[in-house]
C-alpha cells in the first residue's frame, strides 16, 4: 500500500457543525489532548505538489510526518471538498488542485 501523508485540519465549533450537518462527525479523530482533527491523506506526489504550490507550508519530518502550516483559507477549501466528497482520501486533494486550475 502506498504511503500517505496527512494534512491536519483542526476542528473548531464551526467546522464541527458542518461535519455534523453532513453526518460525518465520525471523520474527526482525537489527535492531541482532546483536540479533534480530520486528516486528509496525500500521496507522495500530492505532498510534493502542495509544498511546491504553498511554500509557507512545512512537512514536519521530525515528529508527525504531516503537512502543516497551510493557510487557513486553503484548509477551509480542502475541508469543504472533504465534506462534499465524504472522503479524506487523496481524491480530496485531486479535487482541490482541479479547483485551482
Amino acid at each position: 500500500m502506498l504511503e500517505t501523508y496527512p494534512i491536519n485540519i483542526w476542528i473548531n465549533e464551526e467546522r464541527f457543525e458542518k461535519l455534523k450537518a453532513a453526518n460525518l462527525a465520525d471523520m474527526a479523530v482525537d489527535r492531541l489532548g482532546g483536540m479533534k482533527v480530520i486528516q486528509v491523506q496525500c500521496t507522495e506526489e500530492q505532498k510534493d505538489k502542495i509544498l511546491k504550490h504553498f511554500p509557507m507550508a512545512k512537512f514536519d519530518t521530525a515528529t508527525t510526518k504531516s503537512i502543516e502550516l497551510l493557510p487557513r483559507e486553503v484548509k477551509d477549501k480542502i475541508f469543504d471538498i472533504a465534506i462534499k466528497l465524504k472522503s479524506i482520501g487523496p481524491d480530496v486533494i485531486d479535487e482541490f488542485f482541479k479547483s485551482l486550475d
Binding site: 491536519n8 492531541l32 489532548g33 482532546g34 483536540m35 514536519d60 515528529t63 508527525t64 502543516e68 502550516l69
Partner: protein, 426 residues
C-alpha cells in the same frame, strides 16, 4: 562576593566606553555600517555574553574552532564568531591592520573594532566543519554563504549602549546583571531553558522536569510553608532574525511570562530573559554554544531536549545530548540536563514523560509545528495542550504587535518595532 567567572575560567568583563570617552575615541575614525547579525554580536561581545572572547576571531581561532572545536588556547568553543566585510570596502576605506574602525548600525555608532588581522577563510570549509553540511537548504549554510569574502579579527568595545524597546526592555539583562539578579533571588542552581517558541505544556514540563533534575539533591532549607528552594528556571529567549511563519518575538516572550503570571511557576523559581543571537541551527555544536552562553549568564544547568537547535534531518534526534560525552572532563562549568520527550497520554490522562509512560501506542506527541498549525487554523487548543493564559497572550500580541497575526508576516517583518535601537551618540 559575587562570582563573575565565566566560560574558560575567565572573568566576565564589560567592554563599554563612557559617552565622553566614546565621543573622543571615534573622532576621525573610518566607519563601517554593520548588519543586524554583527550588531547583535557586538552587543554580546561588549557585555561579555561570549566570554572569554573579547572580539571577533582571528584566523587561527577560526581554524581551531572549525578543526578542534576549541580556541587556540584549548578553551572549548564550537562556532566561529566572525566579522565579515567585502574586500572592496576594505580597499575603498583603506582599512589596514593596526587601525581602529567605528562600527555603525542604522547610522549610529555602536562599537569600535581594533583591526588586528585581515584574512580570508573558505566558507564551505567553515560550514562543513560547524554544521556538518554544505547543503544550501540548511539555514546556517545560507547564513555563512551570505557572508562577505574577507574577515577582520580584533577586539570590540561598545561606544554606545543599545536601547531595547518595549516589551523587550524589561527582559534584557547583561550577564553581570543576571548574576546579580540570581543572587538577589537566592538562586544557587539555575537551569537554562533555551527557546524560540511559544510554550505549550510539553515545553512547560520540559522546564519543570529540568528543574527537578537541577534541584534533586539540594538541601531543604526552612520549614513547612517557608521552604527556600534556591533553584530557578531561566527562560532565555533567543532574539534574532525572523522568517515568515515564525512566531513573532513579542508573543514568544510574553507567552513565557504568561506562564509565570498565571502561576504555573512560582514567582521564586522562574524568570524570563532575552539574548540576541542569530541561530546557526548547528544542532549538537550549537548545543555546546548554548551551554557556554548560559554559563556566562550564571546558569549551573542547561536543559537539552529532542532535536536541540537542529533543523530538518541534518542531525540525529539526540546528537545534541551525546556531544557532551565527547568533551574533556571539566571543559564546561555548566551541567547538561538531557531530557527525552514529554508527550500527552490519553490513558494516563496527562502530559507525561516518555522515559516513564508505557503507553507507547496511545501516546500523542507534541510538535511545535502541530501547535502552530492549530493556532493558524484559528482553533483554541485545549488547556492540557496550551494554557489558556498563554493562548490569550499570543492572540493579544497578534493584535498589538503582529498586524493581526501571531506569526511573522511580510508586513510584520517590514513594519515591526525593532527589538533595540542604537541611539545617536549624545
Amino acid at each position: 562576593m559575587m562570582d563573575f567567572i565565566g566560560h574558560g575560567g575567565k572573568e566576565i568583563k564589560e567592554r563599554i566606553l563612557s559617552p565622553g570617552e566614546a565621543k573622543k575615541k571615534i573622532k576621525n575614525l573610518v566607519s563601517v555600517e554593520i548588519s543586524g547579525r554583527i550588531a547583535r554580536e557586538c552587543i554580546d561581545l561588549g557585555y561579555g555574553f561570549f566570554t572569554p572572547l573579547e572580539g571577533f576571531m582571528g584566523k587561527a581561532d577560526v581554524d581551531s574552532v572549525c578543526k578542534k572545536m576549541s580556541l587556540t588556547d584549548g578553551t572549548i568553543w564550537p562556532i566561529p564568531i566572525v566579522f565579515d566585510i567585502s574586500s572592496q570596502e576594505i580597499k575603498e576605506k583603506g582599512i589596514k591592520v593596526g587601525d581602529t574602525i567605528v562600527l555603525t548600525h542604522t547610522g549610529n555608532p555602536l562599537a569600535i573594532l581594533e583591526v588586528e588581522e585581515i584574512f580570508s577563510y573558505d566558507k564551505d570549509e567553515m560550514a562543513q566543519a560547524v554544521l556538518g553540511t554544505t547543503d544550501t537548504k540548511h539555514p546556517g549554510v545560507r547564513m555563512i554563504g551570505r557572508m562577505q569574502d574577507t574577515f577582520i579579527g580584533g577586539k570590540v568595545t561598545l561606544v554606545n549602549k543599545p536601547q531595547f524597546n518595549p516589551p523587550f526592555d524589561r527582559f534584557f539583562y547583561t550577564p553581570r546583571q543576571l548574576r546579580k539578579e540570581f543572587k538577589k533571588r537566592g538562586w544557587v542552581r539555575i537551569v537554562a531553558h533555551q527557546t524560540r517558541n511559544v510554550p505549550h505544556t510539553g515545553h512547560e514540563w520540559l522546564m519543570k522536569g529540568a528543574w527537578f533534575c537541577a534541584h534533586g539533591d539540594a538541601p531543604v532549607i526552612g520549614n513547612k510553608d517557608e521552604i527556600k528552594l534556591g533553584t530557578g528556571v531561566l527562560v532565555n529567549c533567543i532574539i534574532g532574525p525572523k522568517r515568515t511563519g515564525d512566531y513573532i518575538d513579542e508573543a514568544i516572550l510574553l507567552a513565557h511570562q504568561a506562564l509565570h503570571d498565571g502561576r504555573y511557576f512560582r514567582d521564586d523559581v522562574h524568570m524570563v530573559s532575552i539574548t540576541c543571537w542569530d541561530m546557526r541551527y548547528a544542532g549538537p555544536k550549537e548545543a555546546i554554544f548554548h551551554a557556554i552562553l548560559r554559563t556566562n549568564l550564571g546558569c549551573t544547568h542547561h536543559m537539552f531536549g529532542r532535536d536541540h537547535a537542529g533543523v530538518g534531518d541534518y542531525y540525529g534526534t539526540y546528537d545534541a545530548h551525546r556531544i557532551f560525552d565527547q568533551l574533556p572532563p571539566g571543559s564546561l562549568k555548566i551541567k547538561p540536563v538531557r531530557v527525552l520527550e514529554w508527550w500527552y497520554c490519553p490513558v494516563c490522562a496527562e502530559v507525561t514523560y516518555s522515559g516513564l509512560c508505557g503507553h507507547t501506542k496511545e501516546r500523542q506527541k507534541f510538535s511545535g509545528t502541530l501547535i502552530r498549525s492549530i493556532i493558524k487554523d484559528g482553533v483554541k487548543p485545549t488547556r492540557v495542550i496550551m494554557r489558556p493564559e498563554v493562548f490569550d497572550v499570543v492572540m493579544e500580541c497578534a493584535e498589538k504587535y503582529g498586524f493581526g497575526s501571531p506569526f511573522c508576516t511580510e508586513e510584520y517583518l517590514l513594519k515591526r518595532n525593532p527589538v533595540f535601537v542604537v541611539p545617536p551618540l549624545g
